[in-house]
Symmetry: C2
Subunit: 171 residues, 2 copies
């Protein structure tokens, strides 16, 4: 699929078909994350791929009760393994590195005919317990992955004029 | 360009041709950011597009002296306009939202035959002064944009086995 089409088609999918994701498609999604850039190319990331039904349901409960998360045939937890580093601009590096990788996966999923939804509302401690993630690491997102059961309407976005300014900042 | 090709081809470009970027190409890059998802679709972002030579050079100086930043015909500053919000998982939302938008731009740039480089090493205060960005906002990345003068060798990345685990976390 063309990049432009993937960007246009990507949307948050909150209902999934009860149908497994072929391994090849999963692999292509993970490969997109693998190729993503990261600060100093440190690749400080683990992706925990969860397929077991009970564990997925536990993740859905841990995601502030967003049960649709557990209804996807796969849930990927994106884990930062170096959550301490602050860039010289003052911004923590780990959310940037992980977001790049997850963004790559959301686009690759569209390319595979799959849907995803960024999940940032979850209990950090509970997800770590469920997935046996060491305390020192940080889960940045849960990403349910599956065939979309229904799609939403078109994107609602600000205009370019609202988000772009030239030379210096203007509101 | 196919999404897969854009993901494979994207690399950090640190040398640019002295050649302006056509407006249509710039617009397509910005449009990719506009279509990017954000938490609760708040789109809490401004993109400051800098073309003036003197200002670009000042940004290069502010970027820990990475002068190649100023040599690109365009530098885009990605500014978070809601830098306070913490997601319930404990991760700040603004680096995630902004990284998604910038990641979209880096891929769209490849699609347009352009190069970019994520810059996270810069003085937050100095960049705000140069671009007259209100103190309450947060610059997450500088993104030089231009035609690549030379390309690097292939990506060096961990294997899938090193970054992916199944069901529960394993090192």
């Amino acid at each position: 699929m063309e990049l432009k089409e993937a960007i246009k088609k990507r949307q948050s999918i909150r209902a999934y078909e009860d149908k497994p994701v072929p391994e090849e498609k999963l692999k292509n999604v993970l490969e997109a994350a693998r190729l993503a850039p990261s600060g100093n190319n440190r690749q400080p990331m683990k992706l925990v791929v969860v397929k077991e039904s009970k564990r997925r349901q536990e993740l859905g409960q841990a995601a502030d009760g967003q049960t649709f998360v557990g209804e996807a045939p796969i849930v990927i937890a994106a884990v930062a393994t170096e959550p301490e580093h602050i860039m010289s601009c003052g911004v923590p590096r780990y959310p940037v590195d992980l977001a790049i990788a997850v963004d790559h996966m959301t686009l690759a999923a569209v390319d595979e005919g799959l849907g995803t939804c960024w999940i940032g509302a979850f209990s950090q401690e509970r997800v770590k317990e469920i997935l046996k993630i060491p305390h020192k690491y940080r889960v940045v997102a849960l990403l349910p992955l599956g065939f979309p059961r229904r799609e939403k309407e078109r994107k609602i976005r600000k205009s370019l004029e609202e988000i772009v300014c030239y030379e210096t900042f203007t509101d």
